[in-house]
Symmetry: C2
Subunit: 149 residues, 2 copies
């Protein structure tokens, strides 16, 4: 197979179309990787989560990495790696507009079956934690694709 670089537009196309990837965060140099769904818009990936290990870690250290890939066959795949920063959008007046925007984006992608949210749904309504809305700023992005010889 042959490896080729993806340009910026091709990277964004993959991020937007897949909307699913593996998020890496780190605490005291221990990495942690989890699958996440997201919606891509301009320089940000928008997502939500209930409070848990990844949110706790990203609050302490906002440096993140996301890997997104589409594997059609072992010799036919694309992969994008994003380095970025975690930014929370708390439920305060200052973030109201951005939260609504993120909510609409995420709704469009039907992300409500995310594991964390599904998990919360098994608890009684009154003790369900409110989901955390966040966005990941894209600081640097590289992409590759493999094509059969």
């Amino acid at each position: 197979m042959l490896l080729q670089n993806l340009n910026d537009g091709e990277c964004r196309e993959l991020l937007t179309r897949m909307g699913f990837g593996r998020l890496g965060c780190a605490s005291e140099n221990q990495p942690y990787v989890v699958p996440i769904y997201f919606a891509c818009h301009d320089e940000y990936l928008y997502g939500f989560s209930t409070v848990g290990q990844k949110i706790a870690w990203m609050r302490t250290n906002p440096l993140i990495c996301i890997e997104v890939d589409e594997v059609i066959a072992p010799e036919n795949w694309s992969s994008v790696i994003v380095f970025g920063l975690y930014e929370e959008m708390p439920d305060t007046p200052r973030y109201a507009h951005l939260r609504q925007f993120a909510h609409d984006l995420v709704d469009k992608r039907e992300l409500w079956w995310e594991p964390a949210v599904a998990s919360a749904q098994t608890r009684p309504e009154e003790i369900r934690p409110a989901p955390i809305l966040y966005r990941l700023k894209i600081n640097k992005m590289t992409g590759h694709k493999a094509v059969p010889n």
Copy 2:
């Protein structure tokens, strides 16, 4: 959908059967996530790579995380997260036996189409870097699966 925990045997079954996942490493609290192929045996995941960013980072900080998943449908998936340690198996007499063992394991899984190796194959033979053989010690492992309601 409903979430269930996977027990140790179910986690190992997924790792062994998939042999593909996303490896997270970290340098100065910056996480980095890349797809890797591996072969699972006892307490280790065996793999190889040409020298590059992930090897350089794991040599400096051996703490790693691997996420492996099988997504059949948005409400029907399994996911395992492994925390572990990077250990290199250099081409020295001390590691000769272990390297042969790892080589055989990896050969069985036909991992030779890994991106890094494919990439090296486009270079003239005399300047192809020798692949690095490594293993990742499983220190802690958790797994979940989602089943439709």
